[in-house]
């Protein structure tokens, strides 16, 4: 059974006459899968994120996550956005521990098991290459480092599903490629399902098992492409003809979808 199953969902903002953001949306995501969602801007990618996490409830159709229909926010997800939104009055470590103060399963244990949780946060920081930066405040970190910390915060409560909304959009090319590798390794080492919403087609092909292409508004899934490259993938793959062919094919599809709008 898929972890996430979206069936024939319509979502309209601002009342019955408002904009239709997605229409007839169908998508299935298997446990452990890495799915990238691409499409022309305004195609409802962010709506897809909010539907999956239960921040929005659709007007029609069903969203099922982990065997349950979504009617309120599902706490098995972690989210990271392009804007890292670290709280400036907390140190990086305290920022990362924030979800544990919220999630029902952890909040009552946090005080008594503080050391255990801190150790876990420190390990996560090390995984993303931020060893020793836990005591720094977010504003003392560069944009790329803040985004790494943001990933740690999204992962600290061991979510089954990680939702990333253009997390690397504001970073320079080199930092972005470094973080691709961080995400790739996280996905390989942990038992987590990842949905990545992105504008960057190379990013989607490099990271994902499956690339989902959405149409212009109202958004729906036009096609799904299984990425054939074997894992573990190296950054060298970016320069191989087969990789570039796939990127180009996706590019063509999105250009057509834009023109149709």
């Amino acid at each position: 059974m898929p972890l996430v199953s979206i069936e024939n969902v319509d979502m309209r903002y601002g009342g019955p006459t408002g904009t239709l953001a997605v229409s007839g949306l169908d998508l299935k995501i298997d446990r452990g899968e890495f799915v990238a969602v691409v499409g022309p801007s305004g195609c409802g990618k962010s709506t897809l994120m909010k539907l999956t996490t239960g921040l929005h409830i659709p007007q029609s159709g069903t969203v099922i996550v982990a065997g349950q229909e979504v009617t309120k926010p599902v706490s098995i997800v972690g989210m990271a956005f392009q804007n890292p939104t670290m709280l400036p009055w907390r140190t990086t470590l305290e920022n990362i521990l924030l979800p544990l103060e919220i999630v029902e399963r952890h909040r009552h244990r946090l005080r008594s098991h503080k050391a255990e949780y801190v150790a876990k946060a420190v390990r996560l920081l090390e995984t993303v290459g931020l060893k020793g930066f836990g005591d720094k405040f977010p504003w003392q970190l560069s944009g790329g480092m803040q985004q790494r910390a943001n990933l740690c915060r999204a992962l600290i409560h061991e979510p089954e599903l990680l939702m990333l909304d253009e997390p690397f959009g504001a970073l320079d090319a080199f930092t972005r490629e470094e973080l691709w590798c961080v995400i790739r390794d996280l996905h390989a080492s942990q038992d987590v399902t990842i949905v990545l919403v992105t504008h960057d087609l190379r990013e989607s092909v490099f990271l994902a098992d499956k690339v989902v292409v959405m149409s212009a508004r109202p958004g729906r899934v036009i096609s799904e492409h299984v990425v054939p490259f074997a894992r573990p993938r190296d950054l060298d793959i970016l320069y191989q003809p087969a990789f570039n062919d796939m990127v180009q094919r996706l590019h063509g599809e999105i250009a057509t979808a834009r023109a149709a709008a």
């Binding site: 909010k50 989210m79 009055w89 504003w139």
Partner: protein
């Protein structure tokens, strides 16, 4: 004018070495203040204005020494009413600000009422307060409170209302309740706005207490200046103004220090990132 002689005496000394540098920025507030008084003194002396119109600073300092006992007593009284009114304003402002910022409906409903209330000149309220509480300390404290709580409310509510939607989404997706979001994000986030508003509020509190003392009290600097004015004792009126300025600067500095102390992080980062 002994200080002018000292200045010339210093300048005849050999030029200072590189190791000893004068920090002009630190000295500037003092120098400019002294400069203002010197210009004032010269201006009054050259123009020959009578001290019943504009007394020279030397005449004002004379009055301060001459009337030190009542000046001191009334200064303390004004400081007391101002600070008491201000403290009530802080408590009420924080409470109402959090209440208003809590929900969009409350915000929408109460905001126009607050604006209307704030538009009323507080001096017009003093007679009503006198009817209710008699003249003296109570109306002064209440006027200080009424005039100074508005900026606190607005700032706290603004801090709460401008939480980044992404932060809210991240927390709500984890199952956070409204109270969680307020405690973890909203309240800490509104603290720089709150401490910033204290500087405005304390200055306004002085306006409130002095207005009330002038109209309806038997003590305080407002009352002292009003009775000095009716006796044409203009130097004493200016002495009262000077004391108010000193108290105002001292309290403002205290609030600025508190702001820096409590929310130093806000001065090192941009809130919106």
């Amino acid at each position: 004018m002994t200080n002018i002689e000292t200045v010339t005496a210093v300048s005849t000394l050999p030029p200072p070495r590189d190791s000893f540098k004068i920090d002009w920025i630190r000295l500037a507030p003092l120098l400019y203040t002294v400069g203002l008084f010197v210009l004032w003194e010269i201006g009054v002396r050259l123009s020959g204005l009578p001290h019943t119109i504009l007394p020279a600073p030397s005449r004002i300092f004379e009055a301060i020494i001459q009337y030190w006992s009542p000046i001191w007593k009334n200064s303390l009284q004004t400081l007391y009413t101002t600070v008491l009114g201000f403290l009530i304003a802080v408590a009420a402002g924080l409470g109402i600000g959090l209440f208003i910022g809590w929900s969009k409906t409350i915000y929408a409903g109460l905001y126009p009422i607050m604006i209307g209330f704030n538009a009323i000149p507080k001096v017009a309220l003093v007679p009503i307060l006198v009817i209710w509480f008699g003249i003296g300390t109570v109306p002064a404290v209440l006027t200080a409170f009424l005039i100074s709580f508005f900026p606190i409310v607005v700032n706290v509510a603004t801090g709460l209302a401008t939480i980044e939607p992404e932060t809210e989404d991240v927390l709500r997706a984890l199952g956070a309740r409204k109270l969680d979001i307020m405690l973890k994000v909203g309240i800490p986030r509104s603290m720089p706005y709150f401490f910033g508003s204290l500087k405005v509020a304390i200055t306004l509190a002085f306006v409130g207490s002095v207005v009330s003392e002038t109209v309806a009290s038997n003590n305080g600097l407002g009352n002292m200046m009003a009775s000095a004015q009716s006796n044409f004792n203009v130097p004493l009126v200016f002495a009262g103004l000077l004391m108010l300025a000193i108290e105002g600067i001292a309290m403002y500095a205290l609030m600025a220090w508190l702001e820096k102390r409590m929310t130093g992080w806000a001065h090192r980062s941009t809130m919106s990132n």
